[in-house]
Symmetry: C2
Subunit: 249 residues, 2 copies
DNA sequence: CGCGATCTTGAGGCAATTCAAAACTAGTGG
DNA sequence: CCACTAGTTTTGAATTGCCTCAAGATCGCG
């Protein structure tokens, strides 16, 4: 019983992945904040971006590195991390295509967090100054960016609340629900989280140790709420998880 | 020994405090994001704001309340809170004159956190729609607001890191340093944090219980790093605290 | 002076961590 | 095709940092 299944997640190849030229424009035009811009503007903006590929596991930059680049995920997933002196780290965010990260507007000369490729990656990048110029040139874009950053602030506040007042069990339930909403795809196993997700990853998101994450996952599995294996998790009973997460259990 | 001193913090009166008419304009023009605007624009913006007073302890709004108002602190201090079903709460931020809060741009129809007057208060308020109109009318303002929100996101990420990987002791050291940088005034007792600050407040900021906060404060006091009494704390040895906070101890 | 609120301190308990070892998985090459 | 191996996951036992519960001390105010 409790047989572990073969991974249903389709992993990207691990070689560097460059975006094709037309893909670039397509990605840019799909970005929520560049929508409704005239084609000419998109062309101009496209000029300012450079593409860059990364292998899975590679670091894009480290906290403390000097730099002012802004990145946009075209393909793949990026882990945004912070580590303390003791080496323990948190995952602040898991970025998917369309998300931006790096030097946010009005930031100092150095990166405050670490960015790592979770999968093979294609990024579009632009200097902070050039990005600011775009924002100044196209005010509607600035408003869109503001909306995105404000939404992220709310998400961060939610995380702070979880870390402060909730148990490990509830934090992990919350994170599974968030990930499923962001990356979930219906499969035979349940709502599969489409990203290679180790126990360590989960632990870093929930602010617990990998062992605790594993114990909680086992528990959820025994309850029949999820299915999971190596580097993947699928939700089978979202309602039950939500009930637990929201104290309605 | 360890005699407790009389509170050196000057507490505001507890009655509702309304801003004088000219104070309003002065406050608005002092706001970082309305600077460099022509006087005429300031006048127009001023029209859109309404003033509102609150007693110390009063709630401005609760999480879940429907509403779309944006608030700017003119005088006093505001606690931004989130509570869970069990009643435990976190303080997300302590807002001082010039800070805004409430319905951030592009937000749903309800408040996600709770705002409470920590002191007698004078607020300026504007509807989310009107604020958005201002941002659309004056693009430089939108950029300024973006900078502020981005900075808050960084601060929130820092807090997440603290809560995830640091001990109660270090978290409290961090918070004292942050508060001192924001509200500190040099006094004979040391760098005094100019706000009524109970152990409960500290506990809510650090994500610990009031008892733990008290124990840590006692410890810091014995080490001679801080002085403290009822509702106040002053830093005497910032360096030592920073060394502890940054793992250089 | 006495009351209510704040703060301190102690003792016991518990959730989560640490340390450690075993079980499992997926990919590798014989 | 199967055994081998490196990485991942599970599980156990002991430890600990923080919480809970509770009493007592202290402060500031009317």
């Amino acid at each position: 019983m409790n047989k572990r299944r073969k991974s249903p997640v389709h992993f990207e190849m691990t070689e560097v992945h460059l975006c094709s030229r037309d893909l670039r424009l397509q990605i840019l035009s799909t970005l929520p904040f560049f929508q409704r811009l005239p084609q000419s503007a998109l062309e101009a903006i496209n000029q300012s971006f450079t593409e860059k590929g990364f292998d899975s596991g590679e670091y894009i930059y480290f906290a403390g590195d000097p730099g002012q680049q802004l990145y946009v995920v075209a393909q793949g997933r990026v882990r945004l991390l912070r580590a303390n002196a003791g080496g323990k780290q948190v995952m602040l965010d898991l970025l998917v295509p369309g998300d931006f990260f790096g030097a946010l507007p009005g930031q100092k000369q150095e990166y405050l967090d670490t960015a790592q490729a979770q999968t093979a990656l294609c990024l579009l990048t632009i200097s902070g100054d050039d990005f600011r110029t775009i924002l100044e040139t196209y005010p509607p874009v600035a408003l869109k960016v503001l909306d995105v950053v404000a939404a992220r602030l709310q998400a961060a506040h939610h995380t702070i609340q979880l870390l402060s007042v909730e148990t490990a069990e509830k934090r992990i339930a919350h994170i599974l629900l968030t990930l499923a909403a962001k990356l979930g795809e219906p499969k035979s196993e349940g709502l599969l989280i489409q990203a290679p997700l180790t126990r360590d990853d989960l632990a870093e998101m929930a602010g617990v140790t990998p062992e605790t994450a594993s114990r909680v996952i086992s528990q959820f599995q025994k309850a029949g709420w999820i299915a999971s294996g190596r580097q993947w998790i699928a939700l089978k009973d979202e309602g039950a998880l939500r009930a637990l997460a929201e104290d309605r259990a």
